[in-house]
């Protein structure tokens, strides 16, 4: 009995993790960094904006992973 290693899933996930890290670095450098420098304090609208940004980021990662899986199937 042989166990097949799910290479496709691993490769796809690795691609998503690398892309996710790249986007996270870009977001931190271009958006979060400047905002933290400008506003070194908390405000409800800043928290709301960070939440929207984080939601879009997570949504994008899930979407990318699902799409890669769908493309591999077809």
């Amino acid at each position: 009995m042989s166990i097949t290693f799910p290479e496709g899933v691993v490769v796809r996930s690795a691609g998503t993790i690398i892309l996710g890290a790249y986007i996270a670095v870009l977001m931190a450098a271009l958006i979060l960094g400047p905002l933290v420098i400008l506003h070194g304090y908390r405000a409800w609208w800043l928290d709301a904006f960070y939440a929207v940004l984080f939601g879009a980021y997570i949504g994008g990662i899930i979407r990318r992973q699902r799409m890669a899986g769908r493309n591999a199937e077809s």
Partner: protein
């Protein structure tokens, strides 16, 4: 829709990046001398120029959406322009008064505009993928 939203998001990111050098306008002076400082400081001047370009592009985006009769894009570009205007007016107020509340309104307008045009960018991409 997609191209214009993308250009506006990139423009807005550049605008905030140019304001992130922790440059402090000397306090206790008149509004005219504050503006003189802004217009002679290369980075803040670039921030103002880029913000003006973003404002003009936002107006063009709204006009294009009205001509294109795309309702979702019309709503997004109108809301985006409103947020850009809030940020623009707050920026002017901040230079004149140096009040923290004006800085808050400027960033609030900026964040709102990023969300609006970011949504426009996403919807534009989605529409492009749909089969014709």
């Amino acid at each position: 829709m997609k191209k214009m939203s993308r250009a506006l998001v990139v423009g807005l990111v550049v605008v905030v990046a140019l304001a992130a050098f922790n440059i402090t306008i000397p306090a206790g002076k008149s509004a005219a001398s504050n503006w003189k400082f802004v217009l002679t400081h290369p980075i803040i001047l670039l921030h103002v120029i880029t913000a003006t370009a973003v404002l003009i592009t936002a107006v063009v985006a709204l006009a294009a959406s009205i001509r294109g009769r795309d309702r979702s894009w019309m709503a997004l570009s109108a809301a985006g322009l409103a947020f850009v205007l809030i940020a623009f007016v707050a920026g002017d107020q901040y230079v004149m008064s140096l009040h923290k509340s004006a800085l808050n309104y400027m960033s609030f307008g900026w964040a709102g505009a990023v969300i609006m045009y970011g949504t426009g960018w996403y919807l534009g991409r989605k529409k492009e993928r749909l089969p014709r």
